[in-house]
Symmetry: D2
Subunit: 422 residues, 4 copies
């Protein structure tokens, strides 16, 4: 089997020719594959090796988020034409055998669960075969379901333009709040590894779409279902499809309020084409058939959330508020057993948590549940008259004393887009 | 085993003493049970037998939504005290053997998927043992997971007041839009079956909280997990707990954009108490341990939705928009195979559909997936070069010709709260 | 939906016209159904109401095993022809609502796990909705998966004759051992409820095949998979198919070394025909598509058995010995926690136990595993340095003192066929 | 993480010091690990690289079965004492990345399904990530569940002696039949890789137990549950435990009538000790807690087998006969769709097939089911009026013409032990 893209997971991304950090139709493919051919693609972690396996979170503070995600590609699929559907079989996702670890981290302000008392933090997860545990969050271990967080085809020029337009319009609508609601194209962090004519490189850096969200081409789907055995169907907007992949995770929790277990690794992929499928099947966004092999921690404890804020304000049937309430309730429950706020927060993003949107029309609440898998905890966390029993679960990695001091005194950032009131 | 509440599922609700349609601390319990005692409770369908097993949807138009939900209770649990947690074991939920059918319906304006081209519609589902199918939506059959849509304890007076205040405040915030964002207390449809002193009855009718949403006491949770074998933990706000149940469903789809398969039926329940559990465990909203026996249609086709409206407007990471996009994509896919818009819509609410909130921080999209269970369809719906193949799947029940004409000419209702722009 | 066969589960079987206890081609159908028609069939428990809901096992000793199984039928399927396949959809199996209990029992000598120290015993299981527990085996409760133990079509005259011949030949081969290896036709206990000409009745009673084993027509399949949502395909040997059903269980363990949880109840069934399917598909024995809804107690503790007897004798790769070893190990493990031998024995037959035949060619052992579902026990039974912890789990029902004395002094029965040495 | 045993999967086993092919207490450990330490062990395929990735089965005929299984070990667990229980966490099993293939093969006479018309055959399985397919059996692909077929602790001298005694006694009992019922110790193929004093080496070669069966120390368990996430509890008979592992499979079918998908690979393991656990917990044979992550092909087609031979002879409730009947029915069913006898045979051993022993006491039949996972086949294999549809599924690898001729004319081997009549 061919490895069509190789990377050095411990190297610097700027020196690596098969990577890019923006979506743009004009990034030339770095490899070509045939329909039905299984092949391997290596990927750096999403941050391009910016986070280290140590016990200090200063690198979290130093990370430039404009650089994410470091994607491998584009890969041209021989014969693919705009208007076809690309059927990608994900046959395997694995960490590099010689780099059996991943990380999660909390950057205050980055997700909906963030509160002003959250500290910059990091947890390193060790992979022992298919099982992971963290020296920074004791009392927990579970089986991973390594998957691909970001996967997409290249947008057409028209599609790219529509993305930029609508996202700029969103920022414009909320400009008075000062929050960043969508990351607009930005030269800072924009990167195409291969050597390109300077005007082309400049065009991509200036206009390439950010990789933060999922969009009509796939993108940052962040679904744990994209593990070995899954199929994803993606619309094709440019001839050749120009598939890129990256942002591999060892495990993820639904809702993923901050980083999943981020890793560098190797995907095995096979591509098929449904000719003219965009028209015949009508797909304009990703469609997935999950693997038959599911990580099914059967015993679950599901917290239900209301569309009511912490301050008791009723929101208009809002599943994001419901998620925040349910996940916060789960976190507070964990804290009663001895986990810290940051440990509980990271577990929400890393552990195999199930989040369901249960009912939408029951105004003024959208029903959301967030379910902890009971089997991942050493202790028995079921509600009972003898619980909670408190244990010591160690500590995540925080900032160095020096940086912590500086961090606390720096000017507050912009408000979170999740705090904007509807 | 005692049947502590009996109802006539084919009768009129007003003549039935064990029912009520509002949450209020002063509704006296109609029955008392002991901790650890299994007992049965009979329930009318949520509408109080307002919808008939026929092929005309005029009764949908005639239904007064202020009457829902017709709950059975309250049930006093001997020894329960405010501050305890009530652990309710759901041991069974079944339709009445002699009433083996349920219904779903579409009331335009009632849910987030509604578009102005949706017609008033109804589908009757026949229960053949554990399997259901509908003469109004051919080509589909599946196993039910009968469950309890609404379950809750009585609120304290203070909690009730806080509900009313915050929901009125919501309506106030959006009053200029004309939309009803929360159903406020209303004498219309308010009902307590038992004979009460008139001032008490009046107080309940005037101030009792509507049963539409889920709240801190449980309420309209609408989760298919509340089937036999599940446990739900509810805070207790008044001595005796005063549990009420109702809104039974034969099956539900996550997201439930309109009615699930509504039915009258019989629950078997056992209650336990965790003394002072609200304090020791900190639950302030429902927590559920789902049954080990899950309706697990393994093969799924998951549509992913973006936080982008049909008109291409980018919303601020909005899982409701994501749900609407994903569910609409699933519906449009079904329509390519021959299902009508209304059939597809009803399937979204009735079939064992899985809706996951996958990732929240990827601004400006909240990732939501809506997964069709492939095994419930007679036809093979997998994406392929030979699909879609169109079949005739019959028709849902619509309005009579006469009513349809009147309906189309009546004044448009208030705008949907789901259309209010953030 | 029609109930085509009604029974009185608390009555005497001899007075009930729709029952029979033998397989014979000449038993006239008692009802006729159409292809595609859902219908209900009521069934007595297998013993014809011979076992009572009390705390004394004397009725076990009194039971005449020649009477089993009390089947409901035969049911003629309109249009079915010999050579077709009958596709039976099992849409539901439920206990009678007014008879929410079942029983299991141990008749020494009746199964492969029996040892001379097993006492005559009985356990009553109470059904609280879908959940069962027993006052005779404390500390255990679980969800049932009500199913049909016996289901079959009528044999042709030729098939019946071949059964009798081969089973007599087996008894003949082992006649010197004194063991009964197959129950031959016997007037004792033979029974057809409907009124028949006396010569026909006599013919059936003299020659009708016993219902003990599974055979080419279906028969005593005793698989927990035959629950709601399952399909079974049965060869048709006589025109009309002449389907009979019975031996309903609330729950069963794979291997079922003694009675499962036996109950009277109601089946919902729908029949289809695959014309000439015996020839086109080649089925000559039952084939089953299990329900999508499985009782899946995920956490299991699997004991592995060798083909070595208790006395240390090596058997020729024998899965029966492997089963005996694995199940005995599981029973001894349970006894370390405080369950009695008889309680553990009954659990092997009643609880949702999984028994797999893992590998056959590894001479001289056939690998068999017997897995306990950990989730059905109140206590934590996982192997650990703090286990076993002994609890008091009450007692099964045994013989009255008087009968126990008599029983112990009666002549020993014939040797078990499971003790015959290969 | 340490790799404590390295092998060359493409080399010759005799040159590799960490391997052995017999169980004996005196084989010195080749590595030592600590309790709680995760470590890696590399393993050759069971045959010691005797089977090639080509299209000719001559190497099957040439294979000397006395050499199996090539195990890696023994591994000493620091602090383990005889009488303790060894808790082995299987954290991962993977093929060597650079050797992404495995094989299955049929040696006539080797398993219970063999008929005289079975030909020597081989199938190569390619691993594309977690998915496997075979150029020798088209139309099938499935996800593997890589696992460890053989795992065990060293026997004590007394245990070893009892094995030899009881297996010789078995052969003695059946000596008049000419069949080999148990493989006795044999110098031929006996092998210890490390350099040992010649008298010790000789002792091991002369008296070491064969690795064919599972025994009280673990051994050839051949259970697909021994995949990542599983725990196995093994009795410890010698200080240090002296664990050996090997016989890795990419996938296996329950019943495994011939070779599973055999592969060379790498295990990740962690060991724990339950002190004095043999006494406190009473385990005298392996006990397994399967992984929470199961390969669960939900849609299954289960063939049920009777204890009746092909020739119509009734056996005494015999699950081996039941297995043979059920598996043969499944194979014949596959042949109706175009698979050859040898293809169907190999699928029985390689595909994720479920074999359950359902009921034991229903004399004279022990109920056994063998279930095909419908989802692994490209074609729809469900029974219907339009099936079977015949396709061309290619061909397994057979003997070269030359060898086929010689093979057919060689003297017939000894009778199969599975043909010996009880």
């Amino acid at each position: 089997m061919r490895t069509i893209i190789s990377v050095d997971p411990n190297g610097k991304p700027l020196a690596q020719p098969h990577m890019h950090t923006r979506w743009h139709p004009d990034i030339p493919p770095v490899a070509t594959v045939n329909v039905g051919e299984a092949f391997k693609v290596e990927c750096m972690d999403f941050s391009g090796n910016s986070i280290s396996n140590d016990d200090c979170a200063d690198d979290v503070l130093d990370y430039c988020w404009d650089q994410d995600h470091h994607l491998s590609g584009p890969i041209r699929i021989e014969g693919a034409q705009a208007g076809d559907l690309l059927h990608v079989e994900i046959m395997d996702v694995q960490p590099f055998p010689e780099r059996p670890w991943g990380f999660s981290m909390i950057e205050p302000g980055a997700g909906p669960l963030d509160k002003n008392h959250t500290r910059v933090a990091k947890a390193i997860w060790d992979f022992e075969g298919a099982i992971t545990s963290s020296r920074h969050i004791k009392g927990v271990s579970f089986q991973g379901r390594p998957h691909c967080g970001e996967i997409g085809t290249a947008p057409s020029a028209a599609l790219l333009e529509s993305w930029t337009d609508r996202e700029k319009a969103l920022n414009h609508r909320f400009r008075s709040h000062g929050a960043i609601c969508a990351n607009e194209p930005s030269k800072r962090g924009a990167y195409v590894g291969q050597e390109l004519p300077s005007d082309l490189a400049q065009k991509i850096r200036l206009h390439g779409a950010r990789t933060t969200p999922a969009r009509e081409n796939g993108g940052n789907i962040d679904s744990g279902t994209l593990t070995s055995g899954a199929s994803i169907y993606l619309p094709i907007y440019v001839d050749g499809a120009n598939l890129s992949v990256g942002d591999l995770h060892f495990s993820i929790g639904d809702g993923e309020p901050t980083c999943a277990i981020e890793m560098a690794g190797i995907m095995t992929i096979k591509c098929h084409i449904i000719a003219a499928g965009m028209d015949t099947l009508g797909f304009t966004a990703p469609v997935v058939i999950p693997s038959v092999v599911d990580h099914f921690y059967q015993a679950r404890l599901a917290f239900h959330g209301l569309s009511v804020s912490d301050q008791g304000m009723q929101h208009l049937s809002n599943p994001m508020t419901g998620y925040i309430q349910a996940a916060s309730a789960a976190m507070k429950y964990l804290q009663r057993f001895g986990y810290s706020h940051e440990q509980a927060y990271i577990l929400m993003a890393c552990a195999p948590i199930e989040c369901r949107l249960l009912a939408t029309p029951n105004i003024p609440t959208a029903n959301v549940s967030v379910a902890l898998p009971l089997g991942i905890f050493n202790a028995d966390l079921r509600p009972s008259s003898t619980n909670p029993v408190v244990h010591d679960y160690g500590s995540v990695a925080y900032l160095s004393e020096e940086r912590e001091k500086l961090h606390n005194t720096r000017h507050p950032g912009p408000p979170s887009p999740f705090c904007l009131e509807a």
